[in-house]
């Protein structure tokens, strides 16, 4: 899922300081699962915005809503339900949601309440780690299912780099060296010989280095 984290409240209060009515809009997708922007966080954010504005001597009226997703046009269309009730939207969705509202609502002011951080998962409650970089050319079949693009600090294709110590990354000693884990895992699976194949210089053109990417499925387009 996409992982996000709430921005500092004061930053968001500053965004909405010129408005009297704000729609705080959650998303029931990824940000709901990672507890950054679902219905419960909308309730908390609304309260914090009202308090922040109250401290500044200003009354802010908040309307609360949560869409099934903010990354699909049909759900953004349901913003019609709140027409006339707000001056600006504070979106608690990932950056995709904010972009979608901006794309589809040319005259709507929309502000982000979260920082979108990475694609990851939760191995233990309350902790999320990056697992995928969305590089567009998956090599997991060569690396035992562990991603060196997202999980190696240097995104090496032939690792480890030589700087890891006791299985931990030299850039951040709190995270494991993923190349150590790739070697260990392929050894356990009796596939260690796979590591004798040297990966060629990688073509990063699929990784967004050529600008925003588009994916088209002809069988689904109308």
């Amino acid at each position: 899922m996409i992982i996000a984290k709430r921005k500092p409240v004061a930053e968001i209060v500053d965004m909405v300081k010129d408005y009297d009515r704000v729609l705080v809009l959650g998303c029931s997708g990824c940000v709901s699962v990672c507890s950054a922007g679902g219905a419960r966080e909308v309730e908390i954010m609304s309260s914090l915005l009202r308090l922040g504005c109250k401290k500044a001597g200003k009354e802010l009226k908040t309307v609360e809503g949560t869409l099934v997703r903010q990354c699909d046009k049909e759900f953004i269309d349901s913003l019609d339900d709140w027409d006339g009730q707000y001056d600006a939207i504070v979106s608690m969705a990932c950056g995709v949601g904010v972009n979608f509202i901006a794309n589809l609502r040319p005259m709507t002011r929309v502000y982000p309440a979260v920082n979108t951080t990475f694609m990851g998962g939760s191995m233990e409650q309350g902790v999320w780690t990056e697992q995928c970089a969305g590089c567009g050319n998956c090599v997991l079949h060569l690396t035992g299912g562990l991603c060196p693009v997202a999980r190696c600090a240097k995104s090496l294709m032939n690792g480890p780099c030589g700087g890891s110590v006791n299985g931990h990354c030299e850039i951040n000693k709190d995270i494991p060296c993923i190349w150590q884990e790739i070697h260990d895992r392929l050894g356990r699976l009796n596939r260690q010989d796979d590591l004798l194949n040297i990966a060629p210089i990688r073509d990063w053109s699929t990784a967004g280095h050529g600008g925003p990417r588009t994916s088209v499925r002809d069988d689904l387009t109308i």
Binding site: A10, R40, L48, L51, K54, K55, G57
Partner: protein, 140 residues
């Protein structure tokens, strides 16, 4: 000018038992500040961040939570969960440049003990020293 803070206490069923059965009257006789309102919870684990913020929105100058000792919670993790909610609100208050000391967590034995009165007095004093909560000013 004298200032009597509005203090909201959130107490789990077990740490607020006697105060509830006596409707709080006995507590005041023992010196429990009468400007503290006790809000009873089934368990600290039930407490939501939004409930604590709502207390501030409704005019509280200070808020505190009382739950079981961390290693003796009737519901195992309830008071630890409550403590984390309090920490989340402390962090949010700091982000808004409000004194985080306006909210506190206490872990006390079940039933009525002198400590329940002591922490009440401590909070009453602490919040009085901080003065009125900046959330409670007038709108411009």
């Amino acid at each position: 000018m004298s200032f009597t803070p509005n203090i909201q206490a959130f107490c789990c069923h077990y740490t607020s038992q006697q105060s509830c059965t006596e409707k709080g009257g006995g507590l005041q006789e023992d010196g429990f500040p009468d400007n503290i309102t006790i809000n009873r919870l089934a368990c600290g684990g039930k407490l939501q961040v939004s409930s604590l913020l709502e207390a501030f929105e409704n005019g509280a100058d200070g808020v505190y939570v009382v739950g079981c000792p961390t290693d003796k919670c009737h519901n195992i993790m309830g008071s630890q969960r409550a403590a984390k909610k309090v920490l989340a609100v402390k962090k949010a208050l700091a982000e808004l440049e409000i004194e985080p000391e306006r909210i506190e967590m206490f872990h006390l034995e079940r039933g009525l003990h002198p400590e329940f009165i002591t922490v009440g007095k401590k909070m009453a004093e602490q919040i009085k020293n901080l003065g009125p909560c900046p959330f409670n000013g007038d709108f411009k």
